[in-house]
Symmetry: C2
Subunit: 163 residues, 2 copies
């Protein structure tokens, strides 16, 4: 069905990938804006805080500040202030393992883990509702196509940065 619609309006060759990026950006922006609204209204929190807690939830042994920066793709200054806020709220803690006193690891506290679990459940219900009108077939097709797009653009970007 997607294919049939495409054939009806052929695109200039050079605009095809630009158009994809604009669509990708637009779709992500709509969902992201709604998610920020959802997190603010129901949990009085922000998307960067939620993302950081999600990254820590997947890393039971904790993450260094550098690892957090790389996973969230935000600048170091922002990570520092987000970490400070979450620590103030008792949701995360810092510790230095006896084996390596020079490195600080950030990890969720018990309270942070419980708070994130509650947010994650509500977030999953919310995203199911927001995307309810996309068919299972389209969702699965998008998941696979987006994985391919991410990997191929990452590889190109890496190649472009090679010396």
């Amino acid at each position: 069905m997607a294919r049939a619609r495409v054939l009806e309006r052929p695109q200039a060759e050079s605009k095809r990938r630009l158009r994809l990026w604009l669509r990708l950006y637009a779709a992500t922006s709509v969902i992201e804006r709604e998610m920020r609204r959802f997190l603010r209204r129901h949990f009085a929190t922000t998307l960067p805080r939620f993302d950081l807690m999600a990254a820590l939830e997947r890393a039971p042994d904790g993450l260094t500040m550098g690892e957090i920066s790389r996973r969230l793709m935000v600048s170091g200054g922002n990570v520092t202030s987000i970490v400070a806020g979450l620590e103030r709220d008792g949701l995360i803690g810092r510790r230095q393992p006896p084996s390596d006193r020079r490195t600080t690891y950030v990890a969720l506290t018990e309270r942070g883990r419980a708070a994130f679990a509650e947010m994650a459940r509500a977030h999953e219900r919310w995203i199911n509702e927001l995307l309810a009108d996309a068919s299972d077939h389209d969702v699965d097709a998008l998941v696979d196509l987006l994985a391919g797009l991410k990997h191929s653009s990452e590889a190109r970007a890496e190649a472009g940065r090679a010396p």
Copy 2:
């Protein structure tokens, strides 16, 4: 092909749309990060500045500050500072039409229009390279699927906000 891969790893029903959102966010983040790098390196500019100039380029009569905020989906404070910076650089100007002295419109200057045209050409070449390994078929399929996803999630979001 996408379908075949999906059948190999059936997903829990409730995780399907969450997974789509995570993939969408990840793919957009990779491209956006590379684009920020590209704009900084080649044009010493930022993505919000580029986005704002792109919005003005599509509106020859100019836009009000409110219209800019809605199109860029950033907060009012940010728009004000981006507009101030572009005005300082002589890339945009403000004017009040004789018919409506209370409303200020922001528009590209001649210099801004020329600067944006150059950036847009380079940006298009760059995105063609970054996404070169995605097949035309996959690109077209993604464009259509993403348009559907954007529209259906916008409609759901509107319905959720209805009184």
